[in-house]
Amino acid sequence: MTADDVIFTFGQWLDPDVGSSMLGLMSYLSGMQDVEKVDDYHIRLNLQTPSISVPEDLFHYPAVILNRNFQGDIVRDPVGTGAFLLTEYAEGERAVLTRRPDYWRNGADGQSLPYLDQIIYVSTDKDTAVAAMQSGQVDSMYDPRPSDWQALKDVPGLATRAVSTAQSLVLRARVDLEPWDDNRVRTALKMIQDRSKILQLAYFGEGDLSIDAHVAPVHPEYCEKPIPEYDPDGARALLEEYAAEKGLELPLQVTLATKNDQNEPEMAQALKELAAPAGFDITLDITEPDGYWSRWTEVPLGITTWTHRPLGTMVLSLAYTQESIGAWNETRWVDEEFETLLQQATGTLDVEARREIFCQIEDIMQERGPIGNPFWKKVWNITQDRFQGIIAHPTAYDFYYEVWDKEA
């Protein structure tokens, strides 16, 4: 692989016909004319606007550099520069990765990476994987659910590593539809979140409480704010004011859509109960994941799962700007002041300076934003404790470059 392959891959990302989500992330590139080949091993990006997120964007999960002759099937053309080679692949059963002897990187001890000779991925459902972990048949499992964590956390011989993330179940409202076009109703909805109770019910208490701004404490530029209290009376007062103005009767009938996937039903049920005293009558509309993903940008009120992104600016640009309407702006919420600040923050390298801007950004989202966001999830890496050098990654990347087995 050379710079030509990188250029080829950039070409694919920036081609609207390809439809890569990298296109939205790389709005600082106006096209392939901004991507310049320096020599066989260097390229240069000429940014239209300053951005701090370039390194993180290139580490984002869709940002895999492909060989320019890649035909779309990694099993048929296993070409890459990674530390392991795909040596066996059985559909729906198993993939065997074997150490690449000529891998380019050395570890801290000067030996060539990777240390592991072989990794066998076995495809099972999660319940089977938990049983296999408990009986010691496998060494690790991919992305354990909270219930798996409960089952495995006290098993002797297993090491559990938790990491706080910016993954969340976002309660989001369409601000172009009634009644969510009225900020009083949105604010009332935010006030009915008893955050620690929701976290307990939906995620075994394993997370960090949040503040209704899509910025998490793990983001470097997070500006700390007090966690809002559960306030059904305040919410009821707002709703009564709104209802009187509109000539409506309380309770306000609304439908909350979500999917049965990652503990959303528990959160939805908790919200329904918590919102009742404030004058919301929430009907739940829970479908299988596909059923929700086919309409996630369309439902008036829904709970959408958002994955972790390492910088506070990244999700905000994806989901809360004018440009992202029609793409990932599921709430249609646009705010001029917010967008100006966001642009300013994206071009600010100094973290402290960026944090100051983020204090205002978070204020705006709390005050008039489109989302309620009770908590940020934790994720876990659970592995046999004889393996060292393991990293729990917030988007559940498997890093096996520097993992070693202390008993081997």
Partner: protein, 432 residues
């Protein structure tokens, strides 16, 4: 006997043929648009149409059936004008199709209106050269060319009229210009040992199906060897001791085991022997294709679970049959004339008492091989049952058809074995 065998084989083939046609029609009518399953609900009608034509789904049903049965290469060969050959890809197990142009294995690629020839080298590498081909003209004076593309299709390109096609990649659909106007997916057909590609996985059906079948056969065989002698013994003992405490004990035990669903038994076995005591592997983790032979202990808990279900069932059948025979006049006569009890049971009662259980046992073999979805899911066992189930739910017709053919063969074979056992047990039954 020979005539009976021949008749059985002929009837098997007819059965397979009929089953395949009926299944084909059912899947064609009932499965709906499989492109919805593959492309998701966001795809546009244009994208769907393009994708369906790449799968050859725009061809009439009868033609797709004959392609499936007998292959499409002979049909495509006359269009392309060169012999079409396959090369095996070791890693994926796929047959890769090439046109044999005067000894050079060739495929074609169309990019920006330019046709390129890809020549396969003996070492497996590919060299691209500018294409030197004769474009044909049709009656409307449109220039076209039939070749083999890089996705195992015989395709028709029309000069200056690249169709916009939507190519499915792992990141979604990608639009490409310069696409072919017509696709004939190349395959050898089931009769020539090619079960086609799975729509669900994009891999050859046979690559997944054979190992799955083997795993299921091994599991079924071991379960069979464990369960049947035990169940028959219990049934015979209970039947010969009708009404006595021994009979009651066996019957109650058998009923309890049978009444407990396999997902309950299985999970209890996993919890007790796999996780708590750690005597045996809790679940069937296959770390290599031959894990089942390298580490046969993987089979212990699945087999025990199956034993629990089958034991009570078969032993009850045997017991009932045994009781009936023991009540019959000739057994009474034998006992009255003073023959030892052991001799009465083994020489006179047993053969007749086994006729009914054999029928049930043989029917159960089919279920053991293809119907173990629940057990396979609990133990993560890569067997045939779950594969068939998933394929059927998806509407993956190649996989369903191939699996159905295997199941028909197994059903007929077990019936044959049952028939042979009948004649052995009761010489009055003759097949001719």
């Amino acid at each position: 006997m020979a005539r009976f065998l021949i008749r059985s084989i002929v009837s098997t083939i007819v059965t397979m043929f009929l089953v395949s046609i009926i299944l084909w029609l059912l899947l064609d009518v009932a499965a709906g648009d499989v492109s919805v399953k593959i492309l998701g609900v966001f795809a546009t009608p244009e994208q769907r149409a393009s994708y369906r034509s790449q799968l050859g789904l725009d061809a009439p049903s009868w033609q797709r059936y004959t392609d499936w049965l007998a292959g499409s290469d002979w049909r495509a060969e006359s269009q392309v004008g060169y012999p079409l050959v396959t090369v095996n890809n070791q890693l994926t197990g796929e047959q890769v199709w090439w046109a044999d142009v005067n000894g050079t294995l060739t495929r074609w690629r169309m990019e920006d209106g330019v046709l390129t020839e890809l020549h396969r080298q003996p070492d497996g590498g590919v060299v691209a050269v500018a294409a030197d081909v004769q474009w044909s003209r049709d009656e409307n004076d449109v220039e076209y060319f039939w070749g083999v593309d890089e996705n195992n299709n015989a395709v028709k390109w029309v000069r200056g009229e690249g169709a916009a096609v939507w190519v499915l990649t792992s990141s979604g659909l990608r639009r490409e210009g310069d696409g072919p106007q017509q696709y004939v997916p190349l395959r050898r057909g089931l009769l020539r040992g090619d079960a086609g590609m799975s729509l669900q996985t994009g891999r050859p059906v046979s690559v997944t199906l054979w190992p799955r079948l083997r795993n299921s056969l091994v599991l079924a065989a071991v379960a069979f060897v464990v369960v049947m002698p035990l169940a028959l013994a219990f049934g015979i003992i209970a039947g010969a001791n009708e009404g006595k405490p021994l009979d009651r004990t066996i019957s109650i035990l058998g009923l309890t085991l049978t009444a407990t669903p396999e997902f309950v038994t299985g999970i209890f076995l996993i919890l007790i022997f796999g996780i708590w005591l750690q005597w045996v592997p809790a679940v069937a983790i296959f770390t290599s294709p031959n894990a089942i032979f390298e580490n046969p202990t993987l089979l212990i808990l699945p087999v025990l679970t199956l034993t629990a279900i089958e034991l009570g069932y078969i032993s009850r059948m045997t017991r009932a049959s045994m009781v009936e025979v023991m009540d019959s006049a000739y057994i009474r006569t034998a006992i009255i004339k003073g023959m030892p009890r052991r001799r009465v049971i083994f020489r006179h009662a047993l053969r007749n008492a086994l006729l009914a259980p054999i029928t049930v046992i043989m029917l159960h073999v089919n279920w053991l091989i293809g119907g173990l979805v629940v057990v396979e899911v609990i133990f993560g066992f890569p067997g045939l049952g779950k594969y068939i189930y998933d394929a059927a739910v998806f509407g993956d017709f190649n996989a369903v058809e191939a699996a159905a053919m295997i199941l028909v063969v197994i059903a007929v074979a077990t019936r044959l074995i049952g028939d042979f056992l009948y004649t052995f047990l009761n010489p009055r039954i003759r097949y001719a």
